[in-house]
């Protein structure tokens, strides 16, 4: 069998796997904390059965901690669900603020592992484009990953969404090391393939330390 590699498909699958794995990891951490808090509660019950006095405030705090982790896990599941459903329709009208927020939430552990802080500055109004939401999420992640790598640990990367005359753009700002970054580092072949499919364009401004992802108002236009 001779199959031609499908770069968009492979990149998408890799992205989906990466985000699923990191969110599973976060859900596991929330479950692990719930497990320890319930275990501590069981320890207290055993102590109480042996006649030791239990601090009621401690029990209240434990219950609150469990509830907090349940909602934390629920947040990860909700994000994963939204992410999974972004494959439902190949072309829809989406708000760039929402896409950016979802990618930020999905990749929060990677952001934390890199020691980078993200500073979103969403537009006050929705920034709507008609596009392929999953492929856009993938491209936004590749841009963000590159911006974080170049910015380096301890730095803040700004995320700005705004309308343009013909569509919209996402600006990745405060990328201090952009001037020094090799031009063949980004866009990668994968990012180029996604840009082509989305009719998008990437414009780096090394002097300003900015990378702009420019998108048409309608992918078909």
């Amino acid at each position: 069998m001779n199959c031609k590699p499908d770069m968009i498909g492979e990149t998408g699958l890799h992205f989906f796997g990466k985000m699923s794995a990191t969110n599973c990891h976060d859900i596991k951490n929330a479950l692990a904390i719930i497990n320890e808090n319930i275990g501590l509660l069981q320890d207290f019950i055993l102590m109480s059965e042996k006649g030791m006095a239990i601090d009621q405030e401690r029990l209240k705090t434990l219950a609150e901690k469990v509830v907090k982790q349940v909602w934390r896990a629920d947040g990860f599941v909700k994000n994963m669900s939204r992410f999974a459903h972004s494959i439902d329709e190949p072309v829809v009208n989406v708000d760039l603020n929402e896409i950016l927020e979802l990618v930020k939430m999905l990749s929060s552990r990677f952001v934390s592992m890199r020691g980078v802080t993200l500073k979103p500055e969403p537009s006050m109004n929705p920034v709507m484009v008609t596009t392929n939401p999953f492929l856009l999420e993938n491209l936004v992640w590749l841009c963000l990953d590159f911006a974080m790598e170049v910015a380096g640990s301890g730095k803040t990367v700004g995320l700005i969404t705004e309308e343009t005359k013909d569509g919209a753009r996402i600006r990745f700002t405060h990328i201090e090391g952009l001037k020094e970054a090799s031009t063949d580092m980004f866009p990668t072949e994968q990012a180029k393939a996604l840009l082509k499919t989305l009719n998008g364009e990437l414009t780096p401004d090394a002097g300003a330390g900015e990378l702009a992802l420019i998108l048409p108002r309608d992918i078909g236009s």
Binding site: C24, L31, A32, I33, E36, G39, D43, K65, M113, G115
Partner: protein
């Protein structure tokens, strides 16, 4: 026996340390590799229980750093990835625990590792 628990999930390590203390195990906890290195300079630990994925200094890297300074220290990894089955192959199977942690399994693994 003296233990150092290291995980960036503060609620997890602090509660685990308290539960271990109820079982007669003296365990300190910290939330990063940097804090672990500092703590190990002032205290003596027989064993460190390390989360694999932590910001800046991963558990694997931290093990190497601690091992270089304290050759007698033993290690157990905690991971939020995969399942126990993923670690059942190879010689390092005794050193991994998958979250959520069963405290009795952790104590059994601690005893097993310290006996080696």
């Amino acid at each position: 026996m003296r233990l150092l628990l290291v995980d960036d999930e503060v609620e997890l390590v602090s509660t685990l340390a308290e539960r271990l203390s109820f079982r007669g195990i003296d365990a300190d906890w910290v939330a990063s590799g940097e804090e672990a290195l500092k703590k190990a300079e002032t205290e003596t630990y027989d064993l460190a229980v390390l989360d694999v994925k932590m910001p800046r200094i991963s558990g694997i890297k931290l093990k190497g750093m601690l091992e270089a300074k304290y050759p007698d220290m033993k290690f157990i990894f905690m991971t939020g990835h995969g399942s126990e089955d993923d670690f059942r192959t190879g010689s390092s199977k005794a050193y991994y625990l998958v979250k959520p942690i069963n405290i009795e399994a952790l104590i059994s693994k601690i005893n097993e590792v310290l006996k080696k």
